[in-house]
């Protein structure tokens, strides 16, 4: 039997993390090792020591299965492996790998369990463990929920350590040295006499050995990379125009396509493509299940031709006018539509009875993701295989959906994940791949790259949810005494998973995420979620439910604090029982000089939100310039357990603040005649440079658990801005985009 054959029958533990988790929570049945997907495609002399490390005589490849939508996920994953593997980041190739159950996302499941991140109890931990096991069963290789770092932090370092120890064992076998006398550095095993054996030279021998799974992770004090300032692995390419993105990818013999499907997200009644067929470069016009595509020899020609087609669209299945969407939310605050009430402390009804009740209503609009790179997918279909090249956060869904469309088996579908020019949740949807597959099936054997126009990308966007909240509260003796918040929105998860044919029974935690689990001890405290009917298609937009609820929850709290006559910072600190969360508020107060005199026409607002397990406090400072608001400065303090790369962390948090504030000021998607009114960046621009404030960031490392920071900076930002505007002007802005109510510089 060949060495490869012998290895291929063997399974590998995905690092000992699975053992640790399994033992701790006692679900042994799910603890079976996962097959190592890299073993299937190995050539003679290549070794795949874990699912994350592949070495052959020519080089070392680190597999980074979480997608990088721009926030440095590949870099962080590579650094975690390299830390224990003892390689330098410029010595390795990074490859996202093929979709495989081995790369299931552990951390995403923790967010799906209805326990507060602050709940360390046995029941909460056990439930998270069961959710984790389900996630592993389903093999959901998803990038999202700020989970890349939490999911990878131990798993990838273990993968690096297993590979390193196995290479040492190989060196011991080749040289007769004692393993205990071997060390490693810079991609090589160092022998007792000072000689070195490169990992690449040891690959063939290592491939014959059982992986050394009994490894111990290094003490953080010895880390070379993690926690240190690093140069991102892609920074040179991204500064010289040499980074290739999905939209840039080409294969031999490829043709281009552009598509139009219903802006009302329904059916196509009829179309007339007479003009398009005669246009220069047009190869074919093909009909899809709900639209029409042009295949041409050039992207622009395909777009020009598809835009010349006269199409009659059927009506939308959802209400045609924006006012009807708001009405549907307004009508949802009733017992029949109650989805959850996970927070119900004290007796809210009794506390409000006879008290002077403070009431307020808040609104947050639909928002597009609009990453700067319009989505695209390159697909080639033949009789026995399909290849997909695209930037996606859901490679396993893509694989399965292409298999269904083509009638191929999933193992005949090869998904090549490409670098993304932003996502913000946009690439958790895969309609572009499904459309490209439908086109490619009509021109079998020829690779087709489908590129959306910006307008099509906007019209077909599954947007952020629309949401509305109603607060009722009371104060007593200068303190917040009663807090009752109801939130109504359609279910994001039902809409999103519905498009994947997956049922989502039970309450949708996202309806109340960023509100129900806040670590505040208000004597009478209630948060109720109401499920509005399904309206326009919605999907996960950076911070998901918390992107709207963080605004609602904290602005209403601010209103009550002001009504009580208390200091916004002091009262939040008094109410907050969670030590790590209090520290973020204290840090934000210290950084921003909270309490010092700002002078006239200025104001500070503080907001706090724990989302994705990350307590985050933010202070915004604004000035009132002749009746227009200018955002001057923002301070952010977040508890993440461990900052992997301080430079990338700061950049990502600053960017997330700009993301949150830009949309909060300026942007919305609205519907008329069943279609989004907005088309391009002239009517949906988010933040531009001139409005961008100074942003100061501090990552706190007091907690035991490592958390991801891709989203948690978003929920408090709009609230802090609204609270600052109130402090500067006395005007309370309860609706986004705020520019509907107040001018900005």
């Amino acid at each position: 039997m060949s060495r490869i054959g012998k290895i291929a029958r063997r399974s590998f533990l995905v690092g000992s993390a699975a053992v640790v988790g399994g033992v701790a929570f006692g679900y042994y049945a799910y603890k079976r090792p996962v097959a190592n997907p890299l073993l299937a495609g190995l050539a003679e002399g290549e070794a795949a020591l874990t699912p994350y490390v592949k070495i052959d005589s020519t080089g070392i490849t680190l597999i980074t299965p979480r997608a990088d939508s721009g926030q440095g996920a590949y870099h962080v994953q590579a650094a975690l492996i390299a830390e224990e593997l003892d390689v330098e980041l410029d010595q390795v190739h990074v490859d996202p790998g093929m979709p495989d159950p081995a790369y299931y996302n552990t951390a995403l499941s923790a967010e799906a369990a209805p326990f507060r991140s602050t709940d360390d109890g046995l029941v909460a931990d056990t439930t998270r463990g069961i959710m984790d096991a389900m996630m592993k069963f389903m093999g959901l290789q998803i990038t999202g929920g700020s989970t890349t770092v939490p999911d990878s932090f131990e798993k990838l370092r273990l993968a690096g350590a297993v590979a390193r120890e196995t290479l040492k064992a190989a060196a011991a076998q080749e040289t007769g040295a004692n393993v205990a006398d071997l060390t490693t550095a810079k991609g090589a095993v160092i022998l007792p006499g000072g000689g070195t054996l490169a990992y690449t030279e040891l690959a063939a021998t290592a491939a014959t050995l059982d992986p050394v799974n009994n490894v111990t992770l290094r003490d953080p004090s010895t880390w070379r990379l993690v926690g240190k300032e690093m140069e991102r692995i892609d920074i040179l390419a991204k500064s010289t125009g040499t980074q290739r993105y999905g939209i840039d990818f080409e294969v031999e013999g490829m043709v281009h396509a552009s598509v139009r499907t219903s802006p009302r997200r329904g059916a196509m009644n009829s179309y007339d493509a007479t003009t398009a067929r005669d246009m220069r470069g047009v190869i074919d016009v093909v009909e899809l299940s709900d639209g029409v595509a042009v295949i041409a020899d050039n992207t622009w020609r395909a777009m020009q031709a598809v835009n010349s087609i006269d199409i009659d669209w059927a009506p939308a299945a959802y209400p045609a006018e924006q006012a009807e969407h708001w009405q549907a939310l307004s009508d949802s605050f009733n017992a029949d539509q109650q989805d959850s009430r996970f927070r119900d402390d004290g007796d809210v009804d009794a506390a409000l009875e006879g008290a002077e009740v403070i009431e307020a209503e808040y609104r947050a609009p639909y928002l597009a993701h609009a990453p700067l790179e319009p989505i695209s997918a390159l697909v080639q279909v033949s009789d026995d295989r399909a290849d997909v090249w695209t930037g996606t956060q859901i490679p396993r869904f893509v694989q399965s959906n292409v298999a269904k469309l083509t009638g191929l088996d999933t193992d005949q579908v090869f998904v090549h994940v490409l670098v993304m020019g932003g996502s913000f949740g946009h690439r958790l949807e895969d309609r572009v791949v499904r459309e490209a597959t439908q086109i490619a099936m009509q021109i079998k054997g020829t690779p087709v790259k489908l590129t959306y126009s910006r307008e099509e990308d906007t019209l077909q966007n599954d947007t952020r949810q629309i949401a509305m909240a109603r607060g009722r509260g009371a104060v007593k003796d200068g303190r917040v005494e009663a807090y009752d918040l109801g939130i109504a929105m359609p279910s994001v998860i039902a809409s999103q998973m519905g498009r994947q044919g997956m049922p989502t029974p039970g309450p949708d935690l996202q309806i109340v995420a960023g509100a129900w689990e806040q670590p505040m001890q208000i004597p009478n405290y209630r948060v109720t979620g109401y499920r509005a009917p399904e309206l326009a298609p919605i999907s996960s937009w950076r911070a998901v439910g918390a992107s709207t609820n963080g605004f609602f929850h904290d602005v209403f709290l601010d209103e009550l604090i002001h009504a009580a006559g208390a200091d916004p910072m002091e009262e939040r600190l008094r109410l907050c029982w969670h030590d790590a969360s209090r520290k973020t508020l204290e840090a934000a107060a210290e950084m921003s000089g909270w309490g010092t005199d700002l002078g006239p026409n200025k104001g500070r607002g503080v907001a706090f939100c724990m989302s994705f397990g990350v307590p985050t406090a933010e202070v915004v400072e604004v000035s009132n310039v002749d009746g227009a608001i200018k955002i001057e400065k923002v301070w952010v303090a977040a508890e993440v357990g461990r900052v992997i790369d301080p430079i990338n962390f700061e950049n990502m948090v600053q960017g997330g603040i700009n993301w949150a504030l830009g949309h909060a000021m300026n942007s919305e998607i609205t519907y008329s005649d069943g279609m989004a009114d907005q088309r391009n960046y002239y009517d949906f621009e988010g933040m531009r440079l001139a409005q961008s404030p100074e942003i100061f960031v501090r990552g706190l490392e007091n907690g035991d658990t490592v958390r991801g920071m891709g989203e948690p900076m978003v929920p408090p930002a709009a609230a802090a801005l609204s609270n600052a505007i109130f402090a500067a002007t006395g005007q309370r802005v309860r609706e986004m985009p705020m520019a509907k109510h107040i001018d900005f510089v």
């Binding site: 993105y245 993301w659 988010g686």
Partner: protein, 152 residues
């Protein structure tokens, strides 16, 4: 028609109204220049024509009046322009998709205004959208690049 791009003359057979962006990307396979909006609202397609920053998505092929420089012609990974090395030094990029355009816009700014004020930078760079929100680093990198260029 004839086009000179990054010092090389090309003969391209395209419609007069095909935007320069698509001539570069699809006909000449120069992929550093990016498509973002198609209507001069995002700046991802910014290139230089005779040193001036222009939106190539709104420049018809037949209207190109001079030599075209793309990010690839500004500098290479082995021999970066001062603006590019400032972008590396500050680690500006997140997704990086807008950065070719940002860098070309900044290079054109510094060519005419070697010591821009904060307001000059805001004015010159405001048309270049960055959805990842890397603006604080863009501002800092422009200033560093200005210093580097003055030292030369």
């Amino acid at each position: 028609m004839k086009l000179t791009v990054n010092g090389t003359e090309h003969d391209v057979d395209v419609e007069d109204d095909m935007p320069l962006l698509w001539v570069l990307r699809d006909e000449l396979n120069i992929k550093g220049v990016k498509y973002g909006c198609g209507v001069a609202q995002c700046g991802a397609c910014t290139v230089h024509i005779d040193g001036e920053a222009v939106r190539s998505c709104q420049t018809a092929a037949a209207d190109v009046w001079g030599e075209v420089t793309t990010i690839e012609g500004l500098g290479t990974p082995d021999a970066m322009h001062a603006v590019q090395s400032a972008w590396v030094e500050h680690q500006v990029a997140q997704c990086g998709y807008c950065q070719s355009g940002q860098i070309m816009q900044a290079a054109a700014l510094l060519a005419t205004n070697p010591a821009p004020t904060d307001a000059d930078i805001d004015d010159a760079m405001n048309g270049n959208l960055c959805r990842c929100g890397t603006y604080p680093r863009i501002r800092a990198a422009v200033k560093t690049a200005a210093t580097k260029l003055q030292e030369v």
